[in-house]
Amino acid sequence: MATALKPGSRFKSAVCETQVMVVKAPAGEHDLRCGGAPMVAPTDSAGGEPDAAFGGPTLIGKRYVNADESLELLCTKGGKGGLSLGTTPLEVKQAKQLPSSD
């Protein structure tokens, strides 16, 4: 299932507790998955078990990116499944540098 990903839009895993918000994404439709299953709108319901082949767990507060970092998701709730675009796993983005002052 391919979906347009707009900054600020939210998705949840069909097979675990994971929730994400899109920070940025390339135009077009994308096959965003968690635990191997297409992610769904926050209000949809679904069921099943995450496929361990897709890694995981997701960690709240971490940002997940594809190889060229054109896609970036923020994990707003952690879960057992791993995030992927199609069958390509997303990687954890390096933590933010600390600010020099506030």
């Binding site: 918000m21 923020l74 933590a95 933010k96 600390l98 002052s101 506030d102």
Partner: protein
Amino acid sequence: MSAPRDAAAPGAAYRDALLASLGVAASAPAPVPDEHPALACAASGLMALSGQADGPPLMCPVPLATLADGALAALATLAPQADFADLRGARLLGERAALTGLRRQGARSAGGACRLLDAADGAFALSLARDDDWSLLPAWLEDDAADWDRVARLVRTRHRDELVARGRLLGLAVAPGVDAPHERTAWFELPRGDAHFAMKPARPPRVVDLSSLWAGPLCTQLLQRCGAEVIKCESTTRPDGARQGPAAFFDLLNAGKRSVALELHTPRGRAQLRELLLRADIVIEASRPRALRQMGIEAEALLRENAGLTWVSLTGYGRAEPQAQWIAYGDDAGVAAGLSEILYRASGARVFVGDAIADPLTGLHAALAAWASHRAGGGRLLALALRDVARHVAQFDRPRDDEALRARQREWTACVAGLEAGLPPARAARGTAAALGADTTRVLQGWGIAC
């Protein structure tokens, strides 16, 4: 006209209230400087740092500066041997601005990273302290906002609570401009340990400081002045960001501390950190609890293994969920504490009060809590939140209604008429801060930890 009251009365009352909240009965409390709260406010730099850039400095109608003196006096009461000769609690508030040339900028924070903005139904503060924070704005606003003007325009039609909730979900430091509740709230929480801080003789503590920026480093500097040995422990890849800021300020807070840098992204570095924490008497950290948990560091578990440990957790809003996920800096936490709302009710101006005001206030209170717990045998997890500390100070001597707030502001402003509301003279740093990791090998070897 009532009789003139004792000028330093709120400061002494605050000292005694802080000690009482720790269950300490002090027979010989340290004195609070004898200065009218209005004069203390003007001399602290707080007044010069509040107001529009092209307008007059504004008097804060709650005695923040005097209460900061009271907090330092509480610490001096418990550490009579402390080297505080060049310190005034009140003067800590404007110290960074004095050293680095910051000025009041109205609804823009003195440091520049935080703004007071108007949503459709109320004011709120947003700090964008990290460059990376800007990349979150499209997700926050669902718009390609790339500058403050556009952000200000967009939020004007949105609901404040939704902006705040969504911003927090994204990890932005965003805070509603609410008033401080009239009923007093606590300045610390004690998730673990004895609430009665009975003083015992104690050797000078070993402090491991994992914090950064201002509040935590000020806390450990004050502990250092009380006789503690302080190890400033940083990640080799994510050191204290203040190292990139003005050197004079970094040196002021960190000179004399030993610098340990560990590879915290590796299992070895994390194991070394654990060993350091197991040998410490006091740990000061300012991370979200989950960040340390994800590194395998759990305060509660370390307290079980290291029985005399005092663990001080500094957060924006506390360790409970969901607030444990919210971040805060000194300016937005001051807004969340009610300070900007109080000044607005008194003066009609929507501006910041001071420079990152919650930072120095929290540093002072954290040092008091840490020292008190150590002197009482440790075994405590103390949680201080920037918002809660600043709110506690805001509430302590707040006139009940808006009319009384305005009256006090008029009266206190008249007290300082003709005086220049400038910045305090900056303390001089006692040397240069150690370079990142300068003492890693020496400290690890000295503490019996494999390098």
